[in-house]
């Protein structure tokens, strides 16, 4: 094909103007209760659309409004402004209050992910009951990550997009106090200084592999 025909073809599929693309993203995000990724948006838009630009425009447009465009991991969602939460009492979802064990376990997974069950137990100094992890998995705040490439290939746990969405986080890098905790060395994996570990359950060597996920 010659260049001329190519150009003609391209113009046939010219993307809609930016304002129109913004409208499209607005409609799709409004219609969805779940966050949508850029790819998901573009898959439904006409050929040649750039959702990234439309999303940026949209985020600006909704600044300070009653609803906002927020980023959740790799996806985007419209959510009500947090200061107006009190108006939505009718919409409030009664969630079972999480036990202290569950909230601590969740925090450990979020800040230390990917983390094995043994590592969670090492940090909390107590064994993790099956129900605790089940509850977090059921809430879809936590999922199984990759297996560790250490002996026994233990399974790891990581937090999910649901978790980010629920707590209004763009990514795990935005976890409150993450920087300070890291600076204080409290997110390091520091194996016990000897083999005389208490409880006898933990395997010190296993921790060596636990490099911070957040380093990237």
């Amino acid at each position: 094909m010659s260049e001329e025909t190519e150009n003609k073809e391209q113009s046939l599929f010219e993307a809609p103007p930016p304002a129109e693309q913004e409208r499209m993203c607005e409609a799709m995000l409004f219609a969805s209760a779940e966050p949508l990724t850029r790819a998901e948006l573009e898959a439904r838009m006409p050929h040649g659309c750039d959702a990234a630009q439309a999303l940026a425009n949209l985020a600006r447009r909704y600044e300070g409004r009653g609803v906002r465009l927020i980023k959740v991991g790799e996806a985007w969602a419209m959510r009500t402004a947090p200061d107006l939460g009190y108006l939505m009492q009718k919409e409030t979802v009664e969630t079972r209050k999480l036990s202290r064990a569950a909230t601590e376990t969740l925090a450990i997974i979020a800040y230390h992910q990917p983390v094995t069950r043994a590592e969670i137990e090492e940090i909390r100094g107590v064994s993790v009951s099956r129900g605790t992890l089940d509850q977090l998995l059921e809430l879809e705040w936590v999922r199984f990550g990759r297996r560790r490439s250490t002996p026994g290939r233990p399974v790891t746990f990581v937090v999910t997009q649901h978790f980010l969405d629920h707590f209004g986080l763009e990514s795990t890098r935005d976890l409150p106090g993450l920087k300070e905790l890291r600076a204080a060395g409290l997110l390091d994996s520091r194996p016990p200084p000897d083999s005389l570990t208490r409880g006898g359950g933990e395997d010190g060597d296993e921790d060596d592999e636990q490099d911070m996920l957040f380093d990237d």
């Binding site: 209760a33 947090p82 939460g85 969630t95 909230t103 909390r124 100094g125 107590v126 629920h166 200084p193």
Partner: protein, 274 residues
């Protein structure tokens, strides 16, 4: 000498706050013992005990903490409260740690020093405390379904399936070749539409023979319309003749031929000679 050292060091700490410690330890142990079940394991208990020191966790006296913990365990024993095994394991470990901290380092011992062990315990406590605070901050965030809300009337995305049919030029060639050469590779079959079978002839003659009292040329028994198609006529003649023989065999008809190549004649058996 070792004993002297212990006394020395114990005196060092005891001089300032030793007496207070023991009272505080006892009081702490008594107030906590009621709530053993409320603790999430020995580390949690240690953290709670550590808070009574009213210092930053980084400056915590692990030695004092060990004493507090051991006092707690003693108290529990005195009150005949059964502690879970891991509390007792921790007690044993802390007793070991205490001795390490109080005794001068043994040059033959290759294990970690008491200070190293104490530092790690302090780290563990600080880390647990940090995670506990992080959890609280996390739970206090604006949360979806409580402070922040998603779309109340989400619109479902309809799934539409579209089927596109395609063909290649080669498909087209194959198809055309198939049509145009169909006869060439037509496998051999017996084409039977011009055949009159023996059964057909027999059926026909059984119906006719009853009326045949006189000698009749066998060719008159052929089905109608045989004249135009020689192949069909041949087939009909053959099967009619065979059927005639079959009728003779059954004793229902008679056959005769006056000479070679003369017409074959047929009549009902038992008919009177003309």
């Amino acid at each position: 000498m070792g004993v002297a050292m212990v006394t020395d060091r114990f005196d060092e700490t005891a001089a300032g706050e030793g007496a207070f410690d023991s009272v505080a330890d006892r009081m702490a142990a008594e107030s906590l013992i009621v709530d053993v079940d409320g603790f999430e394991g020995p580390l949690d208990l240690l953290l709670t005990l550590g808070r009574t020191q009213k210092v930053d966790l980084r400056q915590i006296s692990v030695l004092q903490l060990a004493r507090q913990y051991l006092a707690f365990v003693e108290k529990a024993k005195a009150l005949r409260i059964e502690l879970a095994a891991d509390y007792l394991v921790m007690a044993a470990w802390l007793a070991f740690l205490k001795s390490r901290l109080l005794l001068p380092p043994d040059p033959t011992d290759e294990g970690p020093s008491g200070e190293e062990l104490a530092a790690h315990l302090a780290f563990q406590l600080e880390r647990l405390q940090a995670m506990r605070e992080a959890a609280a901050r996390l739970m206090a965030r604006d949360r979806l379904g409580r402070d922040v809300f998603a779309r109340g009337i989400p619109e479902d995305v309809m799934r539409v399936k579209r089927v596109i049919h395609t063909a290649t030029l080669l498909d087209l060639m194959h198809a055309y070749a198939r049509i145009r050469t169909r006869d060439e590779f037509r496998p051999y079959v017996m084409d039977r539409d011009w055949v009159v079978t023996l059964d057909e002839a027999l059926d026909r003659m059984r119906g006719l023979i009853g009326f045949s009292g006189t000698w009749t040329d066998i060719s008159s028994y052929l089905p109608e319309g045989m004249g135009s198609d020689p192949a069909r006529r041949r087939s009909a003649t053959a099967s009619t003749f065979a059927a005639a023989l079959e009728l003779v065999k059954e004793g229902r008809a008679e056959l005769r031929q006056s000479e070679h190549f003369a017409p074959v004649q047929l009549r009902r058996k038992g008919a009177a000679d003309a």
